[in-house]
Amino acid sequence: MELLFTLLEWLCLLLGSIFLIIGGIGIHRFPDLFTRFHAASITDTLGAGFILLGLMIAAGMTLVTVKLLMILIFIFITSPSSTHALAKAAIHGGLKPKLDDQKDNQEKPS
């Protein structure tokens, strides 16, 4: 039983780290700001979620787990909304998403 929990904990930590690395690669490689938001926000939420889940399994039924759970809830609320605010500011500032179609580049995103 102990071994199972340890394995599960390390699986979660490893999975979270992999998601964070994928997010980092995405921020580096994607072509424009909005796709980079996509890479950063989604993998960041998932990566941080898995790492916190692994830490919760490691901590067991203690007060630390409750605190980690609250951190998880706040990350799930704040991370997408900060990305939303940034993307909205970028749109408001006149930055247009890079589109595949050449025609669509001239039109305003509604």
């Binding site: 706040f74 609320i77 704040t78 909304s81 939303h84 605010a85 909205k88």
Partner: protein
Amino acid sequence: MNHHIVLRVVAKLLIPSILLFALYTQFHGDYGPGGGFQAGVIYTAAFILHTLVFGLENTKKIISPTLVQVLSAVGVILYASVGFASIFLGGNFLEYGALIPSALPHAANPGGQHLGILLVELGVGITVSSVILSIFYNFAAEDDSDIEADGIPNEKGKHE
């Protein structure tokens, strides 16, 4: 500000939690990580978030610049008065053990130590919070037409 509906909802959700977490940091500072300075900064972060989402005028309605200035003095007075209270009760300046009468020597009086550090950290928290908020108000009001730092009327302040 009517179109920022996501930000308004999230901010309404977050501001009470930030304030509660600041109070936790404040009063749990005796036993864990935290204390007056950190709690004051977190407390002010809630008001800064409110300003960013709802605008400076609405935040000034909640906590006015005058109140901020008064509070920044109140914290220092609280800190200093704990120090002088321990002098008048027979200890040194800020010797908390003298605050509550006890048969033990001052350094080993747990009740007095707890009360003293609690009040002093509360003073630090109030002062730090209100000073940071007042600095933020001064920076945020820079573009307003009613504030003229250099005496030149601000043309840009008219547009809304």
